[in-house]
């Protein structure tokens, strides 16, 4: 099954039951700090949704509330139409892959995987069969009798996934499961886990502070900030059309220019910035302070054809080579600003110190109220 076909399938299934997981008006405070305030979230059946945000934004708290390890002050959580708010953790049938995996070191790999099945008091023969299937699924057949501490980080993660999914949970929660793996392994495991969960058709909530991870893995991303969901949409739309300055800054990199709205009409307006007068779609009161954002790959070198482009001139400060791409850093007129351009191929003869003309489509200029 190709990835895109799988995506189409998952999306259509999510349409069938778009409220499979329903979180309504959930609030949580620790002492005098409000961690979550009236948070709503609906996740479709079979969907993979990431909760993305900086530490302290409430994403792990939300996860623990869904799992029943924390009780919310207000609001409710329902899965498949069943209200779980007052149901104890062990009766929720929600699987969790913990950040440190929380595997049981006194048990073998197979015993770890069998733990949930034993708690359900299934017949021994059936448990053996299911454990065997799960071991095959995560390619650890030869490790059944190993001790947990004798496994590598990647293997431990696969055991944790097998242990959480073998009980066929109604919902799977993943709490930063890649954070202790090295980068290369992390990338492999991300794709592998994505395929595995799609094959198992398990609805998943994935907590991460790593935007790349969220972009790679998710059907939808919920960007969280200070106890609220700021933006919930597909990775492509969250990236291209972030609906707040916070989301733009947190997901991906971008050029950022502060300015003042100078009036406009028909949904297009002029903004005075340190780089001169620029145009952007949208409407703000004349004189209000705004911030412009442009994704680095939207910007090209050279004059634009016609007036559908914004044009600025800036001095090149630094060239950083990333292999497949090259990032150019420019010196903005206002030191609080930032100008960066992402090029697939570096034109010959370009060196730091050169003054270059940059252009980008007006339509790709994002405008936010200044914080």
């Amino acid at each position: 099954m190709s990835l895109s076909a799988g995506l189409a399938e998952a999306v259509s299934e999510a349409r069938v039951d778009p409220d499979y997981l329903r979180i309504e008006k959930v609030s949580k405070r620790f002492g005098s700090t409000t961690v979550l305030s009236d948070l709503d979230l609906a996740v479709g059946r079979g969907e993979f949704v990431s909760l993305l945000g900086p530490s302290g934004c409430g994403k792990t708290t939300l996860l623990r509330i869904v799992a029943g390890m924390l009780a919310p002050e207000r609001g409710q959580v329902a899965v498949g139409g069943r209200n779980l708010t007052r149901v104890q953790t062990h009766r929720r049938n929600i699987g969790v892959v913990f950040q440190n995996y929380a595997l049981f070191p006194h048990l073998t790999v197979a015993e770890n995987i069998a733990f949930g099945l034993r708690a359900q008091r299934l017949p021994a023969a059936l448990i053996g069969e299911r454990v065997k299937e799960a071991l095959a699924m995560v390619r650890l057949e030869d490790f059944a009798d190993r001790r947990i501490l004798a496994l590598s980080g990647g293997q431990q993660q696969r055991v944790a996934v097998a242990r959480a999914t073998v009980v066929k949970p109604a919902l799977l929660l993943l709490d930063e499961p890649f954070s202790s793996l090295d980068r290369k392994l992390r990338e492999t495991m991300q794709i592998e886990l994505r395929h595995l969960l799609r094959d198992l058709d398990i609805t998943s909530i994935f907590v991460t502070h790593d935007q790349d991870e969220a972009l790679v893995m998710s059907d939808r991303i919920a960007v969280m900030n200070a106890g609220r969901i700021e933006h919930l949409d597909t990775p492509a739309r969250v990236y291209a059309r972030p609906n707040s300055l916070f989301v733009m800054e947190f997901v991906g990199q971008s050029t950022r220019l502060g300015g003042t709205a100078a009036g406009g009409e028909h949904g297009s307006m002029a903004i005075d910035t340190g780089q001169g007068r620029l145009r952007a779609p949208g409407s703000f009161m004349a004189g209000s302070a705004v911030v412009l954002g442009i994704r680095p790959e939207a910007i090209e070198l050279g004059e634009g054809p016609g007036d559908a482009f914004n044009t600025v001139r800036a001095r090149l400060r630094d060239i950083v080579f990333f292999g497949a791409r090259t990032m150019l850093y420019f010196e903005p007129a206002n030191p609080a600003d930032r100008i960066l351009v992402d090029l697939a191929r570096l034109p010959g003869g370009l060196a730091p110190g050169a003054t270059v003309t940059l252009r980008w489509p007006v339509a790709e200029t994002l405008v936010f109220p200044a914080p």
Partner: protein, 264 residues
């Protein structure tokens, strides 16, 4: 040359310390096999008659049995209560957890005599006249610090996500504690239990205030025995206790390893 001298000096000190620690034990063991009815070293001849004499000695067996019961029950009670209290402290479920932990570990720092008098007064005040239950309660207080100390140390290294993991896999909270936390901190349990048992079994200063004529623990009965008939029967009892201690250490080593227990 100086290094070698220093090393030799260290070895000598080590040998002296070991002799100082073990010689009394060896003397007691040797005396227990004597033929003569006098508690004297070196022993004369070889016999097991003092082991036979334990049975006939007044109340020794009964006292040993009582001490074993009290020590076992006090240790078990301390383990359950102490572990639950330690969980509450480590997981910050109660305010001023540190103070609670310090309080529960404090009896070990109070002189036994003071504790014994206090216990006696308290029992009187509450109208508690039964020596057996008073002893048991006092010994829970005496054993609690040993359990608290080791269990707190083990719990601070324990990953509580494992308990949550067990719960998400279908175990109720008490079941999750039993199936994941207990095996996880078994070394701490074992060493805590061992120290607690020994502290209760050979406790003298607290027990002396709480026993009566019919209810006497082994240490008190042994001292009586020495006063009444100072023969090597007590040496035989002591040798059996040493044997039991060695057996317990070997059992612990087999179960969880002394190295792991000592590291708690």
């Amino acid at each position: 040359m100086i290094a070698r001298l220093a090393l030799g000096f260290c070895w000598c000190m080590l040998a002296l310390v070991l002799i100082f620690l073990f010689a009394p034990i060896l003397i007691v063991v040797a005396v227990s096999f004597t033929e003569s009815p006098i508690f004297a070293f070196p022993p004369t001849g070889f016999s097991l008659r003092w082991y036979g004499a334990i049975r006939n000695a007044d109340g020794l067996i009964a006292a040993a049995w009582l001490s074993a019961q009290i020590a076992l029950m006090a240790t078990a009670t301390s383990l359950v209560l102490g572990t639950l209290a330690a969980i509450a402290v480590v997981r910050r479920m109660v305010p001023a957890g540190e103070a609670v932990a310090a309080f529960m570990a404090s009896p070990v720092m109070i002189p036994g005599l003071v504790l014994g008098i206090a216990m006696l007064q308290a029992a009187r005040a509450f109208g508690l006249t039964d020596a057996y239950s008073t002893l048991l309660m006092a010994h829970v207080v005496v054993t609690m610090p040993f359990v608290m100390r080791t269990v707190l140390a083990s719990l601070s290294l324990f990953n509580f996500d494992m308990v949550d993991a067990a719960r998400t896999l279908g175990c109720s909270y008490p079941m999750a504690l039993w199936r994941v936390l207990v095996p996880g901190i078994l070394p701490g349990f074992m060493s805590g239990a061992l120290f607690a048992f020994i502290a209760s079994f050979d406790n003298y200063p607290v027990s002396i205030f709480l026993v009566n004529v019919r209810t006497k623990t082994l240490p008190i009965q042994l001292l009586n025995q020495v006063e009444i008939s100072p023969d090597p029967t007590v040496a035989a009892v002591a040798t059996l206790l040493i044997l039991a201690t060695v057996a317990a250490l070997i059992a612990c080593d087999r179960l969880v390893g002394l190295r792991r227990m000592a590291s708690i």
